[in-house]
């Protein structure tokens, strides 16, 4: 008896909750679904709600997805006809969808738009939404990485200015390293996921390499420097398994004197760091050598399967029109050169912003290539093998280069 009641109850419950979810739809009201990883403190969720309110004819359903799940969830949904109308996707993975026609070609819509003008965007981010000369999305924001340093610990170690070259970075880290007080000289991330690639590629590029030339002599030297840093325990061995956010956490708590990370850390650092800190450009291979940096953050795209391309594009236009709020309200950098970033009045933040904006000029996109995850994996494998001593940096990068050549040659 109970058994039957329970089952019926469960089914009834599932059905009723489903009904309450989709309230009686007003006539002509169009529903668009948006998937993004932003939570209540980040732009997408807030902008989506605003758009929902100001457009009486459009209802917005927003779903927050975890960073790690974006692509797999999106693929599965697209393959089974359950895709959302709009998605925010990490820029190196944009081409994966665009190249297969999963994203809507919005070149013409953008050409007719009063709000979105490709000329206003930085070339790197714009490049990442472009495939085969056509536009398949709009950059959502952008970011890059630079070197944060703890000024108090610098003063204690008698260091006056941040390192300019790789060798100086190692030298400075040795001076700052203080195991007795649980302080590492440096923190960064060599994790076996996209974050490791994101952190290593700038070094390879400064050394004259790139993802298509990963075993260039300068790139090998970069990996050797990384290995020195880990072998001498100038950075925590957990660098191998820790992401950038957690690594920066150790900097904020005073357990690392420097950290390589991005502007997304600024707000938290202001809150947590109980010391004076600054930001410097990434050290180059030699004094005055080639600069480079990573280009991060997400892009907006519309799925080709959408039933409401016009409404979806309208949403993108609204998001782009609010780009000037990204930094003051959410601490994110708009991917555009025409948006002035006003002083926030917080000295540390304004100084940091200047450095990041300069660093951004050297930022290079990863790819675009539809097989980016495999290219990235080859680079991560090389990093991990070299740093754990399973292969020399040269051998590891040679192998990665061979793998990547195979992928690019297809």
């Amino acid at each position: 008896m109970t058994i039957r009641f329970g089952l019926v109850g469960a089914i009834a419950l599932a059905t009723t909750s489903l009904l309450t979810l989709g309230p009686a739809m007003a006539q002509d009201e169009v529903t668009i679904t948006i998937w993004s990883l932003d939570d209540a403190n980040q732009p997408a969720l807030n902008l989506a709600r605003e758009f929902d309110e100001q457009e009486p004819g459009i209802k917005v359903e927003y779903r927050e997805i975890q960073f790690d799940d974006v692509v797999s969830e999106a693929m599965r949904a697209f393959a089974t006809g359950q895709a959302p109308d709009i998605i925010a996707v990490d820029n190196p993975e944009h081409a994966l969808f665009a190249a297969r026609g999963a994203f809507l070609d919005i070149t013409d819509k953008i050409a007719n738009s009063d709000v979105i003008d490709p000329a206003n965007y930085f070339p790197g981010p714009l490049n990442s939404v472009t495939w085969d000369g056509k536009l398949y999305g709009v950059p959502k924001a952008t970011n890059t990485i630079a070197l944060y340093y703890n000024k108090d610990l610098y003063a204690k170690a008698g260091i006056t200015e941040p390192p300019k070259t790789w060798d100086e970075l190692v030298e400075v880290s040795r001076k700052l390293n203080d195991p007795a007080n649980n302080v590492y000289g440096l923190a960064f991330s060599a994790k076996a996921n996209e974050e490791g690639t994101f952190q290593f590629l700038p070094w390879a590029q400064m050394g004259g390499g790139g993802y298509d030339n990963i075993n260039a002599p300068g790139a090998v030297k970069a990996l050797e420097i990384w290995k020195t840093i880990l072998d001498e325990k100038l950075a925590s061995p957990d660098t191998l398994t820790r992401g950038q956010w957690d690594s920066t956490g150790t900097f904020n708590s005073g357990n690392a004197a420097q950290v390589i990370s991005g502007p997304w850390e600024l707000n938290r650092m202001l809150e947590e760091a109980k010391f004076d800190w600054g930001v410097a450009l990434l050290p180059t291979e030699t004094e005055g050598g080639t600069r480079s940096s990573a280009m991060g953050d997400f892009n907006w795209a519309i799925f080709a399967s959408t039933q409401h391309p016009d409404e979806a594009f309208k949403a993108l236009e609204y998001f782009a029109s609010q780009d000037d709020r990204l930094f003051p309200e959410f601490g994110q950098l708009p991917a555009r050169s025409d948006v002035a970033l006003p002083e926030t009045g917080v000295a540390l933040k304004d100084a940091a912003l200047k450095v990041f904006l300069e660093q951004l000029q050297y930022a290079q996109a990863r790819g675009p290539h539809p097989e980016w995850p495999k290219i990235s994996k080859a680079i991560q494998d090389a990093i991990q093998q070299a740093l754990t001593g399973q292969a020399s940096p040269q051998a590891a990068l040679d192998q990665a280069a061979a793998t990547i050549d195979g992928i690019l040659g297809q």
Binding site: G6, L7, A14, Q66, R76, W245, S253, E272
Partner: protein
């Protein structure tokens, strides 16, 4: 006299072992009560210096845990019921006969569960999408978890049926009962404890299920607490005290129920009422 000391010694050893074993759990509770900076302190403090009792109410409100927990209960209850209905009969038949086909069935039941949910989710998702089941996300999750939980239930309940002597069932048949009648009025009541207890265990497993729910329930309003916890954890988190507080609220009721019920659980699983 000697015996009393042996008992005390055993009790002491038991307490020590339990303390050692439960340390991870203790660590969860302690971490939830610590302040943010205390969590990263070296050396780590074994007790919170300044317990933050308010954290539980704060997290409950902040994450809207009431709804999440209710969804977990709904999913777990549905799974338990469906598993019990489908699994009990299966276990009975598998316990009653010994022949090649029973071996095949038992083999199938086990074999079908080899892959972790994380690998089963894609085909299940594709299939459910085609059947339209994804429009009823909680039901879809219940079906998927039931398939996952079934072998465990069948193996446990089969053992309970094995301990019901065949003679009793045969006697009932001689008395004029039908097979169904004998099953319903003789065999089932005798194996009742085992079934009940195994069902409770299934409930508890389903209560913590995560992979299927995450992929098949996009609407926050219908998600169970595990998905809520995952969303809270994210890769960019430092709120470990709040996360552990969430985990504490999530698992404590079920832990309490388990500790209280455990005597019945063990005796239920043996269910050798006739031994």
């Amino acid at each position: 006299m000697n015996q009393i000391w042996t008992q005390r010694l055993l009790l002491l050893v038991a307490l020590l072992l339990a303390a050692l074993y439960l340390f991870p759990l203790y660590w969860m509770y302690v971490t939830s009560l610590k302040t943010g900076s205390e969590i990263f302190a070296t050396p780590p403090g074994l007790t919170p210096a300044n317990p933050q009792w308010g954290v539980f109410g704060y997290v409950w409100e902040l994450r809207g845990m009431g709804r999440f927990l209710w969804n977990s209960v709904v999913i777990a209850f549905g799974t338990m019921m469906l598993t019990a209905i489908l699994g009990t009969g299966c276990a009975y038949v598998l316990a009653r006969y010994r022949n090649f086909w029973i071996d095949v069935a038992l083999f199938l039941v086990l074999m079908l569960q080899v892959l972790p949910a994380s690998l089963m989710i894609t085909p299940i998702f594709v299939g459910f999408a085609q059947l339209g089941l994804l429009n009823y996300p909680q039901l879809a999750v219940v079906l998927a978890i039931t398939a996952k939980a079934m072998p465990f239930f069948v193996v446990l309940v089969r053992a309970s049926f094995m301990s019901v002597p065949t003679e009793l069932e045969e006697a009932a048949l001689v008395d004029g009962n039908s097979r169904a009648g004998a099953f319903w009025s003789i065999v089932l009541p005798l194996a009742r404890n085992g079934i009940l207890v195994s069902a409770i265990l299934i409930f508890m497993q389903a209560f913590g299920e995560f992979v299927y729910s995450k992929s098949m329930i996009p609407a926050v309003e219908l998600q169970p607490a595990s998905v809520g916890l995952n969303a809270f954890m994210g890769p960019n988190t430092t709120e470990w005290n709040n996360i552990m507080a969430y985990a504490t609220i999530y698992v404590t009721p079920i832990l309490a129920a388990f500790v209280i019920l455990q005597r019945r659980i063990v005796s239920g699983l043996t269910s050798g009422a006739l031994k």
